[in-house]
Symmetry: C2
Subunit: 604 residues, 2 copies
Amino acid sequence: MAKDLSNSVGIVETKKIEVVSKDSPLVLDSGKSLGPIEVAYETYGQLSEKKDNVILICHALSGNAHLAGYTNQDDKKPGWWDTMVGPGKGIDTDKYFVICSNFLGGCSGTTGPTSINPATGKAYGLEFPIITIGDMVKVQKLLIEKLGIEKLLAVIGGSMGGMQVLRWAIDYPDSVDSAIVIASTARLSAQSIAFDAVGRNAILADNNFADGQYYNSEGPNEGLAIARMIGHITYLSEKGMREKFGRELRSDKNYTYQFKSEFSIETYLDYQGQSFVERFDANSYLYITKAMDYFDLVRDYGSLEKAFESVKTRFMIVSFSSDWLFTPEQSEDMLHALVANNKDVSYCNIDSGYGHDAFLIETKTLGDLISGFVRTTREKLAGRKSNGSFTGTASKGLKMYERAKRTRVDYDLIASMILPNSRVLDVGCGDGELLLRLIEDKNIRPEGIELDQNLVAAAINRGLSVIHRDIEREINSYADDSFDYVILSQTMQTLKSPDKVFKQLLRVGKKVIVSFPNFAYFGSRLQLLFSGTAPITKELPFSWYNSPNIHFLSLKDFEKFCEHLGAKIEKKIPLIMNRPISVRIFPNLLAEQAVYLTSKKNKN
Amino acid sequence: MAKDLSNSVGIVETKKIEVVSKDSPLVLDSGKSLGPIEVAYETYGQLSEKKDNVILICHALSGNAHLAGYTNQDDKKPGWWDTMVGPGKGIDTDKYFVICSNFLGGCSGTTGPTSINPATGKAYGLEFPIITIGDMVKVQKLLIEKLGIEKLLAVIGGSMGGMQVLRWAIDYPDSVDSAIVIASTARLSAQSIAFDAVGRNAILADNNFADGQYYNSEGPNEGLAIARMIGHITYLSEKGMREKFGRELRSDKNYTYQFKSEFSIETYLDYQGQSFVERFDANSYLYITKAMDYFDLVRDYGSLEKAFESVKTRFMIVSFSSDWLFTPEQSEDMLHALVANNKDVSYCNIDSGYGHDAFLIETKTLGDLISGFVRTTREKLAGRKSNGSFTGTASKGLKMYERAKRTRVDYDLIASMILPNSRVLDVGCGDGELLLRLIEDKNIRPEGIELDQNLVAAAINRGLSVIHRDIEREINSYADDSFDYVILSQTMQTLKSPDKVFKQLLRVGKKVIVSFPNFAYFGSRLQLLFSGTAPITKELPFSWYNSPNIHFLSLKDFEKFCEHLGAKIEKKIPLIMNRPISVRIFPNLLAEQAVYLTSKKNKN
């Protein structure tokens, strides 16, 4: 029976092309030269006439150019990211021209230690020069040029692929319109270097390694398998491993009291080690892990802030909550450095139990993020204003927002305080409704911070630059006066530390617009006075024990608070039933809520 | 110059004793028999006349019998836990008779794979039978008997040592008065089994392993070194490794572009691997890690609850916040099972960045816990009432408590509600002041839950059984009606989810005593009415933005809340200035705070 290819890029072929000749070799970061260099690559979809729909995918350690589709009708498994790349998928080959190439030093077609060294006529082995992530990207750039492409709409990569994306954005700022860095890092942690080093030790200690010249005999299979087993432990989360394997025995009911693999997790690792040995080269493993260990943007530029100084790319950083190899904290380091440079960056930390492997598994969430981000990037480049429509499949987020507990004050009122063409940060931006209106009405440059993952995904999908973050953590990375306006709408009373947050907002925004329910509203007061119970009003419809509002304040409280924090009140709009009332008619008593425009006094 | 031994157990000697003869071998858990068995051990301090001061220490994977002191004047390093064991130290050899023995299967004097197999006349190697933690403890019990000791005041062990402690408590309930289980688990996680399996693979794959008969040639040093390196990665936390090594290069300023160890973390691991090879046996490593992998109290008894059913021992469980090998969650699993069995158990999760290694490093905190726990256990056994004095060095905890923000209602008032000889749980027990008074006045059986580590340590040191826990997390493991009284004093208004917590307390306590500040207190109301600001009173001396009180309630609110949750109010004591007032004179208006005695309606 013929394979059903309707949902696939179909039968594909890995092509090869020489990008560096023997006569004019490439000078590597190590100072050594290498040539010829041949690159194995695949492409899917159609290049648009304007060549403005190109997406380059960078693969991770054990990947290759075979990203999607099947190599023949009998092929059992599709390419490594077939769930994401294809017609109508997250990276839609009906719309985009997608390229993936095996990286330099790999063992799947591109020049690497298994290639023939022209100087000796046999495989390079350890004669292959040490390469860096930068070298790999140089070779990818040469490939792109050979294909006649000048601009990449997006460069996308997970794990070590993300490192390549970072190098692309930094080394070729004019060639990359948007960069998506997934489950990656600007530099490996000591712990990751340690795991890599132990894996390399296992290969080097294998008696069959023969100084890397094992190609005519049995290679260092046991060493390579051990290295891969260590890798696999780090790709899964402890929880994921517990749920998948636990302490289950593979086949025996009782302990065998022998030194053979008997726990399911042991046989899983045996299998992973064995199957890796069959498809991967031990020398390549040495070179690639070393390139990862060496990757360090802080070392290269003095700081991560400096590394990102000259990038012109729109960034999306994605991490996974249970990834302990390339942690969310490492993604946040990149985020902070980009924010400090005032770059256009979105960030989402996807809640997932799959650990580092999540980048290959969480296709739906990741697909929504990628598709919206790339689509709106293209719209922006074409000068088309995004219509703010949501094209993702995670509609749950929007519903949640509609049911959100916050009582939004009238957007018109906030809009009335904002001058056109301003840079605006909406703290707790939800799915971006307010920001989208402000773009429409005031042509603002919008940015958002939001805690809820689904709302972040929805807002990013709608073309907004949004950072997934708990505002209470800190926003130190924003420079002083980064924004013309910062909006904190109906959130003050739900914060654990309103003083810390407000102080930060006054620092990063020239003006801060704050709205909150008035706890001294006459109705509330009377309720407390006469009934002696904590007030429940239309604006505060919660019982004392389940309210998200944990700090109650009145207009007067807020004004004293501003005085205390050195904030100037520039405008004050008390509201009854969402309509402004005069400040002369006892607002502290009568207003149900209020909107304030504030700024920091004595700012330099 | 002579070594200064004033702070040490001095020059010590490892003794050996045969505990199993060749003629009547020990039957192991595997069904195989082993004999003779010789045990290497050390002792420090003096055995008391009543033999009631014996502490047994169980060592971890790479430890041995040489716990403290020096083997000779020129010895550079003392025993492995010398910081904890010695005159005046956490385990005080001036007071206690301390024993430590190398476990079965080890390679430091006790019978193991390096010992001569009487059947062949050469080292056992892989002929050595597979052993379990239970087998190790059986051999320790034989040693103790040989030494003429019937009862152990305490059995203490960290990591794999903790597994032995658990077996002691379960297998010999009448021989163990108290058990201290540090950074341990009732069963390894899948992830830990995975790390162990990879380490064993590295040894078994080493060409020099020679099926375990390598004693007359170079052993599987590279394999053993790799196993040890993996181990060391798991002993440190990511953060600890980052702070200790980061991405620092060992000696070169620039990358060498060679496959040699150049990052500090690499040379550290090389060193650890190498020094381990010099002092440890690869076969022992195989046997010991297998014994750890097999250890599983859930498997042995059907559930952890059943495993602990028959223990009679006072327990203290200690974990470390950054330990990802034997996690705090695993310690909590043991805690829950002990709690479910109504056993006497204390728990402290020590905040530390040192990962699993913390059990050898956090000497001060751990020393306070151990010294107080053992001292008060001995006092209890001797029928002496503990005087509640604090002998620890972490006095900071007590000061913090004195400065604590809570306003405690009069202890006398709570005491007046409690019948003598009751079992009482104080939720948020601080350093145990209230519980100690209730012991004195009402002879209660006290238990406490407390969030602050220093207060937990202080309370445990004073002889109380206290669990280190955020009450908001859940207390599901307590059976219904576990306590005659549960006390929640001045805490309700600081909880995120007072309804969930109170519901749980009503379930686990026959009666729940609750006290809280009255937010509808007349003074507050007037302040809000006339000044229109969130009230600041003597009992609520915080501004709206920094108050730990996040849910405001009045007497009326609480009464409606009780109705809502199906709680009966048995007694109500409104207070002005800590003095009871009549319920007839408008308590909701006039009371500054109140104490309620409640219980669940329609309880089975």
